[in-house]
Symmetry: C2
Subunit: 229 residues, 2 copies
C-alpha cells in the first residue's frame, strides 16, 4: 500500500519505558533490535503508530508484540521530536512509561526483537536512538510522581507487606525511609486494606499482607485528599 500527500509528514512512533521491580532493584525492560538501524543494539520497545489506533493503543500493541506484556499501568511521558533522532528519516516519538509487577510478567521476545530482558536502572547498556535520554526522563518522572500519586502499588503484587511497600519507595527514591514513621503515615492515610493473611514460606515471623484500596482512594481524592509519601 502506498499513499500520496501534498506535504511531507514526519513518521509517528511510540516508545515505552517499562519499569519493573524485583528483590534487588528497579529495572527497565529492553529489547534487542533484530533489524536495522541499530541492529543488535538494546532499545526501548516501540514502533510506528497505525492510522486506526490511538497513541496509547499503539504503545500497548507494540509492547504486547515485542515483549508479551499486557495489562499494565501506562502513562504518557513526553514527545520527542528532535530532527536527527532517527538516522533514516524524520521520526517523532511519543514516549510512554509503564509500571508492572515484574514477577507476573514473563517475557517473550517477538516481532522485530531478537531478545527482551530486564536491566537495572543504574546499569543500563548504551541504547539505540535517543532512548537513553528517554529512559532518563522516565526515571525522573517516576521519582517525581511516585511521591504524590499512589502509582507505586503497580510495581508490587496485589498483596504485599508494609516492608515490601517501603522498600519499593526506597529503591525508587534511592534513600532510606524510617520504618516507624513510614508505617504511621501510610496506615494513617486509610488507603490500605489489611488482609487476614500473612506471608508464607518465610523463615521468620510472617508479615501481614495488605492491598491497595483503589475505591477508597478515589473517594478520598474527591474530598480533596492528596496522597503523599
Amino acid at each position: 500500500m502506498t499513499v500520496t500527500y501534498q506535504y511531507p509528514r514526519p513518521n509517528l512512533a511510540v516508545d515505552c519505558v517499562v519499569f519493573g521491580l524485583d528483590e534487588a532493584d528497579l529495572k527497565i525492560l529492553l529489547i534487542q533490535r533484530g533489524l536495522p538501524p541499530f541492529e543488535g543494539k538494546w532499545a526501548l520497545p516501540g514502533g510506528f503508530v497505525q492510522m486506526d489506533e490511538t497513541l496509547e493503543e499503539a504503545a500497548k500493541r507494540e509492547l504486547k508484540e515485542e515483549t508479551g506484556i499486557q495489562d499494565l499501568y501506562l502513562e504518557q511521558l513526553y514527545t520527542f521530536g528532535a530532527i536527527g533522532r532517527d538516522p533514516r528519516e524524520r521520526v517523532v516519538s511519543v514516549a510512554y512509561y509503564a509500571l508492572v509487577n515484574l514477577r507476573d510478567h514473563k517475557l517473550m521476545a517477538a516481532t522485530d526483537a531478537r531478545d527482551a530482558a530486564w536491566f537495572s536502572t543504574d546499569d543500563l547498556p548504551p541504547l539505540a536512538f535517543d532512548h537513553s535520554e528517554i529512559a532518563g526522563i522516565a526515571l525522573k518522572r517516576l521519582k517525581g510522581k511516585v511521591v504524590y500519586e499512589p502509582i507505586g502499588f503497580e510495581l508490587l503484587p496485589m498483596k504485599f507487606t508494609l516492608t515490601q511497600l517501603q522498600q519499593m519507595y526506597e529503591k525508587i527514591l534511592d534513600r532510606p525511609i524510617d520504618k516507624r514513621n513510614f508505617r504511621k503515615k501510610i496506615l494513617g492515610m486509610d488507603l490500605l486494606q489489611e488482609l487476614d493473611e500473612v506471608q508464607v514460606d518465610v523463615s521468620h515471623r510472617a508479615a501481614r499482607l495488605y492491598k491497595f484500596d483503589e475505591k477508597k482512594y478515589r473517594k478520598l481524592r474527591q474530598r480533596g485528599f492528596v496522597f503523599e509519601i
Copy 2:
C-alpha cells in the same frame, strides 16, 4: 510538492495554550479561525509541524505567525492522538503551554486567523476540535506546577511588587493566601532581588519592587533546594 509513502501517516500538529495575567484574572490567548474546519470558531493557536523544525520550533513559529507573540516561556504539555479529533483526517497534536506577561505582548492576528484575543480562564467560549479539553489540562498542569517550580514569575513584569506576586498565585490557585506568611516564605527563600525602586503613579504608599533572581535559583537548586509555595 507531493510525497509518497509506503504506509499512511497521521498528520502532526502543535497547539499552544498561552496563559497571560492582567489586573483582573488569568487569561488564555485564542484565535478565531479564518479557515475551515470550524471557520469562525475560537481555537488554540497552532498548526502543522514542518519537516525541518522541532516541535518546540513549530510551536513558536505558529504563535508568532498567528498572534505576533515571541520570547515566551514554553513547555510541552501532552500529545493528543484520539482518532476523530480532527474531522478531516487523522491529526496528532503535541500541545504546549506558555506563560507571558500580558502587558508586554500586543496581539496581532495574522495568517489563518481572523482575530486573536484574551479570554478569562473561567469564561472560555466553546472551542474548536478538542481544544477545550487541552485548555483544561493545561490549566490543571499550571496549577500543579506553579507551586513547586518558580514559573509564575513569567506571568509578571520583570519588576514586581510582593502584592502582585501574591495575587498571581491567588488567581492561579484560586484561593486566598495570607499576606504575612507569604512574604515570610518567599523572602526566606532568598530568590528575590530587592530593588532600589518603588512603584510609581500609585495614589498610596508605593510598594518596593523586586525581581526574580534566576542565577541564585539555579545555584540553590543544585544544592537540593526545592521551590515551594
